[in-house]
């Protein structure tokens, strides 16, 4: 399964590839509804690759520094694979269509909405979840600051918020308030923790620099 992604990424010579279709539809609005087994089957048939589905296939995936084997149907999203198969339930599914960022994880260090990504598109890339950002038993500075500044209420958006803010600080140790707002602009919180999220992230940055 390791090179599944590469095959998929090589592009098909005829017809419409799923990847091309997604690109055409605009990634920001394409719902997971597009990732049906039908489309998958169609694509691999075109490429004369292995036909997948509708039954489960076994794949390997690197999550939080460990390689896992899991048996998943082609329609499985990365979010579902993490939650339902690996029981990494810190990643939350709220809207299930890429509009709330509660399911934010890093794929090769880049934040993605895991509800919008097919688990088969992960390939050999490395996935980091909220359970994996504490290093050597030390919380990420953003996690510390969230505790310090009461930046969670019900806590359901918190993992996604932490992932967005931690990614910001990992790449910008001197962010402005506008930078923090920009980093969390896709994160929905219904309890209204935003002011404390902003404060916590700016404070974590100050402590880091």
């Amino acid at each position: 399964m390791k090179n599944k992604k590469e095959k998929a990424g090589s592009g098909s010579s005829k017809g419409i590839s799923r990847r091309g279709f997604l690109r055409g539809a605009g990634l920001s609005t394409a719902g997971s509804v597009l990732l049906t087994s039908e489309v998958f089957a169609f694509e691999y048939e075109e490429e004369k690759g292995t036909e997948l589905g509708p039954d489960a296939s076994t794949i390997q995936m690197k999550v939080n520094g460990r390689i896992w084997s899991l048996s998943v149907e082609p329609r499985t999203t990365l979010a579902s694979a993490l939650r339902d198969h690996l029981e990494l339930t810190g990643t939350k599914v709220v809207c299930d269509r890429g509009s709330c960022s509660a399911c934010t994880v890093y794929v090769d260090g880049k934040p993605v909405n895991s509800c919008m990504m097919s688990v088969f598109d992960v390939g050999d890339k490395e996935v980091t979840t909220i359970e994996g950002i504490a290093k050597n038993g030390n919380l990420h500075p953003v996690q510390e600051a969230f505790i310090e500044h009461d930046a969670s209420q019900c806590g359901y958006c918190t993992p996604g918020m932490v992932m967005s803010c931690a990614h910001l600080l990992d790449h910008n140790n001197n962010p402005t308030l506008e930078d923090v707002k920009d980093a969390t602009r896709g994160n929905l919180c219904r309890c209204g923790t935003y002011p404390h999220v902003f404060k916590a992230t700016l404070d974590a940055a100050k402590k880091l620099s």
Partner: protein, 784 residues
């Protein structure tokens, strides 16, 4: 009577703080001094479960996975009004991986109005009809799509004003009762009164009925404001949807529930399945948001239990985002007629209110008590009508009714102030008798720099700044059936147990603070085990009742446990326990400095492995306004809004809110700020953004998702400054109350007043959209 006299702090520090002597039951703990002199109370104590939340370790109901668990999905109606001819489940039943299908059938209990036909009549899109349990959620969804429901469709009505017409399709032709989690609290919504779809009116509350004489009042008025205000339907949209996991074993049904009230879910499930309460256990360790809509077992609770019964396996049933919008609650809309008269000296002479609103197929679409009680006015009457429509039922939402009511009242008060030539704050000083709101106005105005405010519409250029104010009041409700157990273990461990749940407000943390304060320990030393009906019954998390209901018995139980522990130490030291002090993790003797031991050493003296004390909420010191738990005083706020309006595009941005609040003795400053911020942000959303959009042609909600259901994200969040005013009233052993409801009441009104101040034209309807601004400025044609 076994009472004693005790002196308590009373009043507002920096304003009128003094002392008051109260006669209290002899077993009540001694008075706490003001927060300045306490170690754990009124401080920024870290939320004790924050670590679980920031690491993703917190397990919510939706995260549960039990051995052998099945996943369930509900079957829902796709038409707004119909009789069901038949439901064909044959294809779904033969789908591999499907374990059970349960259809909801008409089984009226004795004495109830039983509908004709095998299946219940369909009255809104999204009404639950049945459910499927399968080995995966995907298979359950597949199975639902294979069920064929055949409908005899009927005419329906979605719009409130359409529904009020004589020839409108009728939603219910029989009397109905308010649903248990209905949209209003404390009002009498009588579904048997009225005609057709218009039920009511409700004319009274627990504060009484009409007073004085409206005609006389208006004849005495020098100025009168008479307006109609409109508010929208909006849906709660908690991030974690409604749902349960039911594990029904022969001797016990365990329900993991995303709920604001473990106790009421337990009682409901026991009643539905005819089980003793002792055979149902409801657990809610973490809960992903509710805002008022999660007090009952819903239809999903019994559905999951029925599927568990049919399959003999645990069943997971969480709703999806669309179901959440359609069927699990909304804040009803309102059309409010309001007429207020005042004399030249500023005194109010009469308030007349008449409202219509729809909670869909439910009741509870009132506009609350705020017009009745916020200001002094001798002549008052209200008529609040429920209008039934073919849409999902409303549910309580933070200060039910009163948020709608405040939007009308607080704009009318501003308009009156202008007619009288008074500043809005000066006018409120005359008509608002609350001492704490007076302080909130003063301190808030200073923080906000109210002096910046100029005459309405006096700015120049396309971009206009505006400043406005709004006020709130909410009763101090106490749930008397609130109990808690405090245990001291003989290894020094301390544990708190209650069925009360922490819905994100920080209940776990304040309980730990209270016990730590009483036992002279650190907050980290206290283990809080709550949200489980195996423990003493605590209150539901609604109506801002939790803090005022559960912290006094928590302190009292800790106080009783401490007394017993100190008696053991006294015996060893051959002294009287009244001579002993428990402080900073040590027991010491008042006069003998040589006598000192750690708390842990003291617990080793216990005769049993634990001291366990259960306390229940005692009556307020010197009683209640009403014996069922309506305490004296109120929970008020004054909120100030600063907005920018672009008069070319109609775009409104809320720049800043100053929120001045009181909640008795504040317990945890950070958590209070969090809740106030949340109430404010939901208020911003209510004023400017969110709106349930229904298609009148099909009865479907058009934006039942997250992306098209607009709420504020980081870019729309104003700067929020909180002012938390300490107010001591000496009514219980903690003198503390909640803040959830008042935080949300005044915001939309303050924003509407600020928008008026910016553009000089009033907007009487929310959400205030760019279109409504441009319409008000006559820059585009009015809506047809």
């Amino acid at each position: 009577m076994d009472t004693r006299k005790e002196k308590f702090p009373h009043g507002i520090p920096g304003h009128n703080l003094g002392e008051i002597e109260r006669e209290i039951p002899i077993n009540e703990p001694p008075a706490w001094p003001i927060n300045d002199k306490l170690k754990n109370i009124g401080k920024r104590v870290k939320r004790i479960d924050a670590i679980d939340k920031v690491t993703g370790k917190a397990k919510y109901t939706s995260d549960m996975k039990l051995p052998g668990m099945l996943y369930a999905k509900m079957l829902r109606s796709t038409v707004p009004h119909a009789e069901i001819r038949s439901i064909d489940i044959s294809k779904a039943a033969s789908l591999p991986g499907v374990y059970a299908i349960h259809l909801i059938e008409n089984k009226g209990k004795e004495g109830e109005n039983k509908e004709e036909g095998k299946y219940p009549s369909v009255k809104y899109v999204g009404q639950p009809l049945g459910g499927v349990a399968a080995e995966s959620l995907d298979i359950a969804k597949d199975a639902i799509s294979l069920i064929n429901v055949s409908y005899d469709t009927k005419p329906f009505v979605i719009d409130v004003e359409e529904a009020m017409k004589a020839d409108a399709p009728i939603v219910f032709d029989q009397p109905i009762e308010q649903q248990s989690d209905g949209g209003d609290v404390g009002e009498t919504h009588d579904g048997s009164k009225g005609e057709g779809n218009v039920r009511g009116p409700s004319t009274s509350s627990f504060f009484g009925g009409p007073r004085g004489d409206l005609d006389k009042g208006f004849s005495e008025a020098d100025v009168v404001v008479e307006r109609t205000y409109r508010t929208q339907v909006h849906t709660h949209m908690p991030l974690e949807t409604h749902g349960v996991v039911v594990d029904w074993r022969p001797d016990l049904m365990t329900v993991y529930a995303s709920t604001q009230n473990t106790n009421s879910v337990r009682n409901e499930m026991a009643s539905i399945f005819n089980l003793p309460k002792s055979k149902v256990r409801v657990i809610c360790e973490f809960m992903g948001g509710g805002f008022g809509a999660k007090h009952s077992a819903g239809s999903y609770g019994p559905m999951a239990a029925n599927l568990a019964k049919r399959t003999g396996r645990p069943v997971w049933l969480m709703l999806d985002r669309q179901e959440e919008h359609l069927a699990e609650g909304n804040r009803p809309n309102s059309i409010q007629y309001l007429k207020i008269g005042a004399k030249k000296d500023g005194s109010l002479t009469a308030i007349q209110q008449r409202s219509h609103g729809t909670a869909g197929v439910g009741l509870g679409a009132g506009v609350g008590r705020i017009a009745q009680v916020l200001y002094d006015c001798p002549n008052f009457a209200t008529e609040q009508y429920d209008v039934l429509t073919h849409a999902g039922p409303g549910a309580a939402w933070r200060a039910p009714g009163n948020v709608q009511g405040a939007f009308g009242l607080e704009q009318a008060i501003d308009e009156l102030a202008e007619k009288l030539g008074l500043d809005p704050l000066e006018f409120r000083d005359k008509i608002d008798k609350s001492e704490v709101r007076k302080v909130e106005r003063q301190r808030g105005a200073e923080k906000f720099d109210w002096s910046r405010r100029k005459a309405a519409g006096s700015g120049e250029g396309a971009i206009r700044k505006g400043y406005g104010v709004g006020q709130s009041t909410w009763p101090r409700f106490v749930t008397l059936d609130s109990s808690v157990e405090v245990k001291i273990h003989n290894d020094g461990g301390v544990e708190i147990r209650s069925s009360v749940q922490d819905i994100g407000t920080g209940t776990k943390t304040i309980l730990a603070q209270v016990v730590a304060e009483e036992l002279g320990l650190a907050v980290e030393d206290i283990q809080v085990n709550i949200g489980d009906t195996f423990f003493p019954v605590g209150p539901g998390s609604g109506g801002s009742v939790v803090t005022g209901s559960i912290t006094p018995p928590t302190r009292n139980a800790a106080f009783e446990a401490k007394k017993e522990l100190l008696m053991m130490v006294a015996k060893k030291w051959e002294t009287d326990s009244s001579q002993l002090i428990l402080e900073d993790g040590h027991v010491t003797h008042k006069t003998d400095a040589d006598k000192k031991m750690t708390f842990k050493e003291a617990t080793k003296l216990m005769r049993t492995s634990q001291i366990s004390k259960v306390a229940s909420r005692s009556d307020d010191y010197e009683g209640f306004q009403q014996p069922w738990g309506l305490a004296y005083g109120d929970l008020g706020s004054v909120q100030f809004a600063e907005v920018t309006v672009n008069t070319d595009t109609g775009f409104v941005k809320v720049d800043k809110i100053v929120a001045a609040h009181s909640c008795g003795r504040p317990l945890n400053i950070g958590q209070l700020e969090s809740q106030i911020n949340g109430g404010v942000i939901q208020g911003v959303s209510y004023a400017l953004y969110e709106n349930r959009v229904m298609d009148k042609g099909t009865g479907h909600m058009m934006n039942a998702n997250v992306d098209q259901y607009k709420t504020p994200y980081s870019m729309e969040i104003p700067e929020i400054e909180n002012l938390i005013i300490e107010e001591y009233s000496a009514r219980s052993s903690t003198d503390a109350y909640g803040i959830g409801e008042p935080a949300n009441i005044a915001t939309a009104a303050a924003i509407a007043n600020a928008v008026y101040n910016a553009i000089g034209v009033r907007i009487y309807e929310i959400p205030i959209t760019p279109r409504s601004i441009l319409e008000a400025l006559n820059k585009v044609d009015q809506k047809a």
